[in-house]
Symmetry: C2
Subunit: 188 residues, 2 copies
């Protein structure tokens, strides 16, 4: 009987190696060769699952995005029924910030992807829609007059806090104080 290849397991093996390389060594280390070495497979095998670097990068961002969604769902679930809009927003944003080692790894992958996408817009076709949807949703929670630009600003502030947390300019405590001060302004 021919050996049955577990494609899903192999793809996951390679994807996990890709995420480790991206988080530990950064964007420029994400090559077929590096990922293959980390996964303990051949470069040809990696290429079978991810034909181009764009495909690898997009997949890595999808993994980061799914983990972020899962963290939000978990954190919001702990709030109980009918949290205030302010508490809901604070919980969602804190769940997405790179505040601990685990989320820092994801944050590094996301930042590497953003730097990559900034010179190759074609690599990130879904980025614009994602942001627009998030802005629309946040706007429904804000009591301010200019809810949409205020929501877009809150999202930009979150992105910038992520950068400063990863760069070591702000500590987790400072970042959360900045977030709370901003929510004070928005919720008056």
């Amino acid at each position: 009987m021919p050996k049955k290849v577990d494609h899903q397991a192999r793809r996951t093996l390679i994807a996990n190696a890709l995420m480790r390389v991206a988080a530990e060594q950064g964007l420029e280390a994400v090559s077929l060769r590096h990922v293959a070495a980390e996964a303990g497979v051949s470069a040809g095998m990696v290429q079978h699952y991810f034909r181009t670097k764009d495909e690898m990068m997009t997949f890595a961002l999808d993994v980061v995005r799914e983990r972020g969604q899962a963290r939000i769902t978990e954190a919001v679930g702990r709030l109980g029924p009918d949290p205030s809009p302010r508490l809901l927003l604070r919980t969602m944003i804190a769940a997405l910030l790179p505040l601990d080692d685990r989320t820092r790894d994801d944050g590094r992958v996301a930042l590497a992807f953003l730097a990559y996408a900034a010179v190759r817009p074609a690599a990130a076709p879904g980025l614009r829609d994602d942001t627009a949807q998030l802005v629309e949703f946040i706007a429904t929670l804000l009591p301010t007059r200019d809810a949409k630009p205020a929501a877009a600003g809150l999202l930009a502030l979150m992105e910038g806090l992520g950068i400063y947390l990863l760069g070591g300019q702000y500590t987790p405590e400072q970042a959360l104080t900045v977030l709370d001060t901003h929510l004070d302004l928005l919720f008056g």
Copy 2:
């Protein structure tokens, strides 16, 4: 008479090539080989001026930082004497945002550097002090009670707007509207 080597001109030649490679092809293309090819010199010559990739990246960020400072000085100079704190802040931040082709190139280099520094904190020793100084200065211009975290938030918002401008999620007009909405909040 032996030929006199113009070291400053050579360093500038190589630095300009480095900036073009970083802006057009992104972080992972900034290698001795790529920069040498772009500058039309040997890899050994590049290595003579920049011994490591860290040195090249730090130099590129210094160039971006100096250009940003020059843009701020120019824009603030056009304001005339005694501009209001709000106008001064708006002018400074707009001068740093990647709103046109020229500043987008600089923004891509800065973003590439941030992604690089996020996995190699040693490459960015000055980043923390720079941000802290900017936060202190902005705080002196804000009328709000929590001036320091509010200043840190404004800086994070600027950083995030830069990311979204480079990624194409926000247009220049949208980014400026977000900035103005945030200044409305801060200046009440």
